[in-house]
């Protein structure tokens, strides 16, 4: 693990953390904690293995720890300004902010899978390894997360599942 390799992965860690956590400060805190934990666990890292995967796993475990801890008194998530990067185009901006809000409404376990596949372009196997969950769980969380996002964006209440019989 050397500095250059970490610097190279850092923007991606930040991007994922931002997408996962929503809030810029909290996301960078998560990245900071991840790096600190990585340094203290240097002995666990196998030279030559995928640094990105290792750091993403550490971040994921930290996130689990954070969520298990009783939350400190703070404003509810809805009240918090979600600090999302926006593109320049005005029309896109509205659409894209909707997506950010919809994403925040997903359960975190689904959000993580959807994001790793979409923005990190991980294979299902890589997601399973990073999150330490079975492949089948990756696929079911992905399917549920994507459908939920789609429904939120299309401003629909979750429909009753109707089977079309031909």
């Amino acid at each position: 693990m050397d500095s250059l390799a970490i610097l190279a992965v850092l923007p991606r860690l930040r991007r994922y953390a931002r997408a996962l956590v929503g809030n810029r400060e909290a996301a960078d805190d998560l990245v900071q904690d991840t790096l600190e934990r990585a340094w203290t666990r240097l002995s666990q890292w196998q030279a030559g293995s995928d640094l990105r995967a290792w750091l993403f796993s550490i971040m994921h475990n930290l996130r689990i720890d954070q969520m298990r801890r009783p939350a400190p008194p703070m404003a509810s998530f809805e009240d918090e300004a979600i600090d999302l990067p926006v593109r320049a185009t005005q029309s896109d901006r509205i659409e894209v902010s909707d997506l950010g809000a919809a994403l925040a409404a997903l359960p975190e376990e689904q959000r993580a899978v959807v994001l790793l596949v979409a923005i990190e372009d991980m294979s299902y196997a890589e997601v399973a390894a990073t999150l330490d969950i079975p492949l089948g769980t990756v696929m079911s969380r992905l399917a549920r997360g994507r459908e939920r996002l789609r429904q939120i964006l299309e401003n629909r209440v979750p429909p009753v599942q109707l089977k079309i019989v031909r």
């Binding site: 693990m1 050397d2 500095s3 970490i6 610097l7 850092l10 923007p11 991606r12 930040r14 991007r15 994922y16 931002r18 997408a19 960078d28 990245v31 900071q32 790096l35 600190e36 340094w39 203290t40 666990r41 240097l42 002995s43 666990q44 890292w45 999302l84 990067p85 926006v86 593109r87 896109d92 659409e95 894209v96 997506l99 950010g100 994403l103 959807v114 994001l115 596949v117 979409a118 923005i119 294979s123 299902y124 696929m139 079911s140 992905l142 399917a143 994507r146 996002l149 789609r150 964006l153």
Partner: protein
């Protein structure tokens, strides 16, 4: 041609390029015949693109200083686990060396590799043994004038006395190679009877204690476990009828070396 319905999981796998080529082509053909499913698949694909477009700008943001600083090393203020290595050469290289050293030690004694670096478990969740060891360490090790009942000058008496009270022969391991000299020991009450505490000190005055109890009534042998109570780090394990706990305010990796040495000395008796 493609009569059987395609499961949703395959549709997602199709979007993500996870299907083998033949199956991919099959699903594509099936989608041509099922426009409503194709719409769904297209909406997922668009969602994927939108997520990337939404968060890709983060990649181009300037990196906060607090993060770039951490890319090269752990800042000294938070460098506790490594502080045993003082700043004689670049800290990064030392840390790397330390990592390799630990990896070597772990490899050398296979049983250590698995359990040494399990995440610390809070003591309250575990047996009282390591907790009592940590408390005994915290109570007696700061004592300047009377840290022990019987000093190392009378080690023979100390060993005879403690062995008699514990009902089994014990001795104080030699830790001089690691820089720790025996100062002495004392007898303490434990849950299941008397417990022995040996105290060691290094040249800088840092003290560590070895807590030995015959606590092993129900438990089987264990590998090393790590726990921490406040500033006190504890490695403990059970071997035969004895329970051992090494406590000190030193970093985990340094303490691991001591624990390894103690374990090996008792193994080779």
């Amino acid at each position: 041609m493609t009569a059987s319905p395609v499961p949703t999981s395959d549709l997602h796998a199709y979007v993500d390029g996870e299907l083998p080529a033949a199956r991919h082509a099959e699903v594509a053909t099936w989608l041509d015949e099922h426009p409503e499913e194709r719409l769904r698949v297209e909406s997922w694909r668009k969602q994927k693109d939108d997520l990337r477009r939404l968060f890709d700008p983060v990649l181009d943001e300037p990196l906060p200083d607090r993060l770039t600083a951490l890319a090269s090393e752990l800042p000294p203020a938070r460098a506790k686990p490594w502080s045993i290595f003082s700043a004689r050469s670049p800290r990064f290289l030392q840390r790397l060396a330390a990592g390799l050293a630990i990896a070597f030690v772990s490899g050398a004694s296979g049983w250590l590799a698995h359990d040494l670096y399990h995440p610390p478990v809070h003591l309250a969740q575990l047996s009282q043994f390591p907790r009592q060891a940590a408390i005994a360490h915290a109570v007696f090790s700061p004592d300047i004038r009377r840290p022990v009942e019987i000093s190392a000058e009378h080690e023979d008496q100390l060993i005879t006395w403690l062995s008699k009270r514990l009902g089994a022969p014990i001795r104080a391991p030699r830790l001089a190679k690691l820089g720790y000299e025996l100062i002495g020991g004392r007898l303490l009450p434990g849950d299941n009877g008397p417990v022995a505490q040996f105290m060691y000190q290094d040249a800088s005055g840092e003290r560590l204690t070895l807590y030995v109890g015959t606590e092993n009534t129900n438990n089987r042998d264990t590998a090393f476990r790590f726990a921490q109570e406040g500033a006190v780090n504890v490695f403990y394990w059970i071997d035969g009828k004895f329970g051992y706990a090494i406590s000190a305010g030193v970093p985990k990796d340094a303490l691991a070396r001591v624990a390894t040495a103690v374990y090996e000395q008792f193994q080779h008796e």
